[in-house]
């Protein structure tokens, strides 16, 4: 279970944002996510969004069957958007100091939450409060570990001796590829 979550988190990280340079969109979040301190905050936010959207988001999901397949992810994403808006508004008006510190991370964390939850959205899961807490904790932890790993990979993917064509992002792709190869050893076939 944890391995699966870890694999998901790793893929989500590799996939959905943050690795690396890029400059488009997430660069600000990236830069802050590269620092281990910010990675902790980031992971906490992801855990919070996971908890909230697991408690809210999974409830009203339409059942499988007629058109539900397309609606379920959409509903969950909408729920996450709602949680994001609520969190951002609350923080902004109640704890502006805290908000300033995490504002750059809030949105990517919300998006990541949706990504991380997607395998569970497709299965018909309904979380009780305890299970939701466990799920959030696992997601947060896996996310934290994964971002630590990628932070450790950063200097390896950007050294002076490597071919210029591979420096930076391409090497990072290869790095994540080999790492996800290792995690694939657990499941052999499918990841999810």
């Amino acid at each position: 279970m944890f391995a699966e979550m870890m694999a998901t988190a790793l893929l989500a990280l590799g996939a959905e944002n943050l690795l690396f340079a890029g400059g488009s969109g997430f660069s600000r979040a990236l830069r802050s996510a590269r620092r281990p301190a910010a990675a902790g905050r980031y992971a906490l936010l992801v855990a919070w969004f996971s908890l909230a959207s697991a408690l809210i988001g999974f409830r009203p999901l339409p059942p499988f069957g007629t058109g539900g397949e397309a609606l379920r992810p959409a509903c969950f994403a909408a729920a996450a958007a709602g949680v994001y808006a609520a969190t951002a508004a609350l923080l902004r008006f109640l704890l502006p100091a805290l908000y300033r510190r995490v504002s750059g991370l809030l949105a990517p964390a919300a998006v990541n939450t949706v990504v991380l939850a997607m395998p569970y959205v497709r299965r018909s899961f309904s979380f009780g409060p305890a299970a939701a807490a466990g799920y959030a904790l696992g997601t947060g932890l896996a996310f934290y570990l994964a971002s630590l790993l990628l932070a450790g990979a950063e200097p390896k993917c950007r050294n002076a001796d490597m071919p210029a064509a591979f420096r930076g992002l391409p090497a990072a792709f290869l790095y994540v590829g080999i790492l996800s190869m290792a995690f694939a050893g657990f499941t052999g076939g499918r990841v999810f």
Binding site: R35, P155, R158, N159, A160, D161
Partner: protein, 345 residues
């Protein structure tokens, strides 16, 4: 848990025998150098502290271990309430044997100087730090009233020794400085030094006593060098410097003149992560991490820990199987840290 002094340092192949075989050869002073200065000798049998320091100052004695004037060093030790004073009678360098030869041949002078120095800094105990246990056995009979330390056989032996006896409030001075202090008591200024001539580029390895200011070239000639050695190095084979101008004068710090047939460089490979540099460092610095930090372009001061402690012994670079010049890396890191030029993340 083993103490760090037991494991730090690097094993280098040492060749001490050839240059110790013969006696110290006194080279004639070249013309043009002024005659050695003399001044009023110390009269009393047991002179006071101030007088000894004054004589050391007057004689212009410089400690060959670190280039610090002896008078300053002794008053520093006195202020620090040094308990043990050790005369360093071994050489860090794998080829040099000057200090060892001085102890063997000028034992009485070294002992007399050590006694004066101990009196000057108020040290209760005197020690001779000899090159090995064998050397201790050999010299014990000739040195009544002093204790012995045996240096280890790993490279920065002096630093390892300091690390080992650091808790005993020990001070160290060079054997030649001791001998010079004994001479100063008789009213003679420091005017000569013992230099080892060695390396695969010379055919006669030996120790010679030369006047300060003699050109390096004439010292080298005494060892009958090859036609054209590639490198001539002074001070040390590990952390010394190459000399291109052979008319450079010999100083107290010269200590050895080494000629090598071949260039020392191997092609430097990237760090393979064996961790030997950190193990070799007697000061607890982690050179590979410093290299990694500097390479990353944005060094994190947390990981430049301890660079200011570096004593430039060069053990890290000598230990590195990839042949990376780690001593220079640490020096650069120190400059970065001190200059504040490091772009903190």
């Amino acid at each position: 848990m083993t103490a760090r002094w037991m494991t730090c340092g690097v094993n280098l192949e040492r060749e001490k025998e050839p240059s110790l075989r013969g006696e110290i050869v006194a080279l004639p002073a070249p013309g043009g150098l002024p005659a050695p200065r003399t001044f009023a000798p110390l009269r009393k049998k047991k002179p006071g502290r101030a007088r000894i320091l004054g004589a050391a100052e007057e004689a212009g004695i410089v400690d060959e271990l670190d280039g610090e004037p002896l008078a300053r060093k002794l008053s520093r030790y006195a202020a620090r309430k040094t308990r043990v004073l050790a005369a360093v009678c071994f050489d860090d360098d794998p080829l040099a044997t000057g200090e060892q030869a001085v102890l063997r041949e000028n034992t009485a002078q070294v002992l007399a100087g050590l006694e004066l120095a101990a009196a000057a800094c108020g040290a209760a105990e005197r020690k001779i730090a000899a090159a090995s246990r064998r050397e201790v056995r050999r010299m014990r009979g000739a040195c009544p009233g002093v204790g012995f330390w045996a240096a280890g056989d790993r490279y920065p032996a002096l630093a390892v020794l300091r690390l080992r006896h650091g808790a005993e409030r020990a001070g160290t001075i060079g054997a030649q400085a001791c001998a010079a202090l004994a001479e100063a008591a008789k009213g003679r200024a420091q005017c000569e030094t013992v230099v080892t001539v060695a390396g695969d580029g010379v055919s006669r390895w030996m120790n010679c006593r030369v006047r300060l200011g003699t050109p390096v070239g004439s010292v080298l000639q005494a060892g009958v060098p090859d036609e054209n050695p590639a490198v001539v190095a002074v001070e040390s084979a590990v952390n010394g410097r190459a000399v291109t101008d052979l008319s450079e004068p010999v100083g107290v710090l010269t200590r050895c003149v080494l000629a090598f047939r071949k260039l020392p460089r191997r092609r430097a490979l990237p760090c393979v992560g064996c961790g030997r540099c950190a193990r070799a460092c007697p000061r607890g610095i982690v050179p590979w991490m410093i290299l990694r930090q500097l390479e990353s372009g944005a060094p994190d001061p947390v990981f430049l820990l301890g660079v200011e402690r570096c004593i430039r012994c060069g053990a890290c670079g000598a230990a590195c199987p990839s042949g990376i010049g780690l001593a220079a890396v640490v020096a650069r890191a120190e400059a970065v840290k001190e200059g504040g030029a490091a772009p903190c993340r």
